[in-house]
């Protein structure tokens, strides 16, 4: 169980908080998604949780123990994938994992096996400087898994990946959860969050605007919509109505001949816009 309690962070000391009164907890073995536009404070929260940034105010605790009191042992248990790929460009993918694995005092995985998980087996012996952006991103993720962590911090693990690779990574994250890992996931990718997260928090300007399971958020904020497409003066026009707006739907159908009618559930992105009044990117 990870508890984050009334967390604040001010980089500049001028009272402009990058993180403002954030509280949540992540039960063991679940995935917690942190969603929000650029600059919302997602990485700041992750960095405080991993001990990279100073805990200024509030508390972060693991099984009741403050992040400030955790020693080297804690780092044997966690895996961190950073938003920007940070590997040794002069080492190969394999070497990057191998020497990183050497730092742990717990059993580590075979680098080749982990590279295989992220689809880099064939490029294992290429220098990282010859990797593409997406390959570097995957190498970063692979490095975070090498010590079989039971707590994972993943900052934008699918950014810059094509849909099929992204889905491979999504499955990999799901497998980690099935193995019992507790995961803090930061992403812009609403589809990924929707499919993976047990709980999501919408972060906006440093504070949590809404937090619930994806299903509950949709029930609470998302209205189902009906889209009606018809022909007018030789071109297609689409109008959308709330599912509740029976009168509106009826009157349109009276006036025109629909070409297509379909209903659509609100996405997390729609809900985000509804909750915060702004888009995600």
């Amino acid at each position: 169980m990870i508890d984050v309690w009334h967390l604040y962070h001010d980089y500049t000391g001028t009272g402009k908080f990058a993180v403002l009164d954030v509280t949540f907890s992540i039960p063991k073995g679940t995935i917690f998604g942190c969603l929000g536009p650029s600059g919302a404070g997602k990485s700041t929260i992750q960095n405080i949780m991993t001990g990279l940034l100073k805990l200024q105010r509030g508390e972060v605790s693991y099984e009741g123990k403050s992040v400030n009191e955790l020693g080297v042992k804690f780092f044997n248990r966690i895996g961190v994938s950073f938003e920007q790929p940070n590997v040794y460009r002069r080492l190969t993918g394999y070497e990057n994992l191998k020497y990183f694995a050497g730092l742990f005092s717990v059993p580590t995985l075979d680098p080749m096996e982990v590279l295989d998980w992220v689809g880099l087996r064939d490029d294992a012996h290429k220098k990282a400087s010859d990797y593409s952006k997406g390959m570097l991103q995957r190498l970063n993720l692979a490095r975070s898994l090498i010590n079989r962590p039971d707590i994972l911090f993943l900052d934008e693990p699918t950014s810059g990946l094509d849909p099929s690779t992204a889905s491979r990574i999504r499955n990999l994250i799901m497998e980690q959860k099935e193995k019992g890992a507790t995961i803090f996931l930061t992403t812009h990718n609403m589809d990924l969050a929707d499919r993976l997260c047990d709980m999501v928090a919408f972060l906006d300007e440093g504070s949590i605007a809404a937090m619930d399971t994806p299903g509950n958020l949709k029930l609470k904020y998302g209205k189902k919509e009906v889209m009606i497409t018809y022909e007018k003066d030789g071109s297609l026009v689409t109008e959308s109505f709330s599912m509740d707006d029976k009168a509106g739907i009826a009157s349109l159908i009276d006036r025109v001949t629909p070409v297509k009618i379909h209903s659509q559930e609100a996405t997390l992105e729609d809900i985000f816009i509804r909750v915060t009044g702004r888009g995600l990117s």
Binding site: F75, V80, F82, N86, V87, R90, G102, L103, F104
Partner: protein
């Protein structure tokens, strides 16, 4: 702990040999050795090569007769000349530590075939002026090429770890400060020693105090690596770092002046680490068994202080910067 350090050492070694600067340093080493042998004349400071004598039967051209045995010894001690004294049919060769080969060559040149005289050799080890000037510069070259390798490489590797942000990954690993510092100190300590030995053999030959040389080269290389780590934590880009690194090297190079002109030795110059190191190398290479314990002790003590400083700085400014310390 051992496993961690070894893993980091292999990594640091690979990163070093894949860095262009390392090969620049290596090529420079070869160029220095070549120019010592082919470009720098052996006698550009010929004042040290005078021959003086007392009581010789014959007057030889080029040998300055002096008024007493004491005057000859004084001259050998002070000016690094070579003295010849005759006692009956024995010639005593008084010199500041010439190799046996050089002594034989000298005597053969002066007196022809051995046999006419008994020759006795007496070493006064106060001055080494007789060593050809190009060879005598070996300690300086070794100090500012092989020994500073660690200073430059530690700095360059740390800067690239900052720039590529791999240090962030290290910070959330169980690696820790000690393993980080010890690994680099050992890798560059070992490579600095190998390069120093290479230069010593290529310039001076095989005739020197090997154990003393290896110890001094290792401790000095470690010292400069630690200095490199301690300084580089303050920089995040190459250009600012480079200026400071050059400044530090230049300050260290002022001790070269004392080495070429022993008259120049203001008290402060002894506090520059390279002072002890250069004179230590001189003793090891040319001193024919002269005691280097003092140089080793001073350099080790300086390295110990720098180890503490490097650990504290790496921990505070590199590995735990911006976070609550535990």
């Amino acid at each position: 702990m051992m496993g961690k350090i070894i893993s980091l050492m292999v990594q640091d070694t690979k990163l070093m040999v894949r860095n262009a600067i390392f090969w620049v340093i290596t090529v420079t080493l070869i160029l220095i050795v070549l120019s010592v042998h082919f470009l720098i004349p052996g006698d550009f400071n010929s004042s040290g090569q005078h021959l003086v004598s007392w009581n010789l039967d014959t007057v030889y051209p080029g040998i300055t007769p002096l008024e007493s045995r004491e005057a000859v010894e004084e001259s050998v001690r002070k000016d690094g000349t070579i003295g010849l004294i005759q006692e009956g049919d024995t010639i005593i060769l008084i010199h500041p530590g010439l190799s046996e080969k050089t002594q034989n060559a000298l005597m053969a040149a002066l007196f022809g075939e051995p046999g006419d005289y008994n020759i006795r050799s007496l070493t006064l080890r106060q001055n080494t002026g007789i060593i050809p000037e190009n060879i005598r510069l070996a300690p300086v070259f070794i100090c500012f090429e092989a020994v500073v390798l660690g200073f430059l490489m530690a700095g360059i590797l740390m800067l690239s770890e900052k720039e590529q942000k791999t240090i962030k990954a290290y910070r959330v690993s169980p690696g820790g400060t000690l393993a980080y510092v010890i690994s680099k100190a050992l890798v560059f300590g070992i490579f600095g020693t190998i390069y120093a030995l290479l230069m010593a053999v290529l310039i001076v030959g095989f005739d020197f105090n090997w154990p003393g040389f290896i110890l001094l080269a290792f401790v000095s290389s470690v010292l400069f690596t630690l200095l490199g780590l301690a300084v580089t934590v303050f920089f995040s880009d190459m250009s600012n770092w480079f200026f400071t690194a050059v400044l530090i090297l230049v300050i260290n190079m002022t001790t070269m002046v004392s080495y070429s002109a022993p008259a120049f030795s203001p008290f402060w110059i002894r506090f520059i680490p390279s002072y002890t190191i250069i004179f230590g190398f001189e003793d090891v290479l040319f001193g024919a068994g002269r005691d280097i314990a003092q140089a080793l002790i001073i350099t080790s003590a300086e390295a110990a202080v720098l180890f503490a400083a490097a650990c504290a700085l790496v921990r505070k400014k590199l590995l735990k910067a911006g976070r609550s310390m535990t």
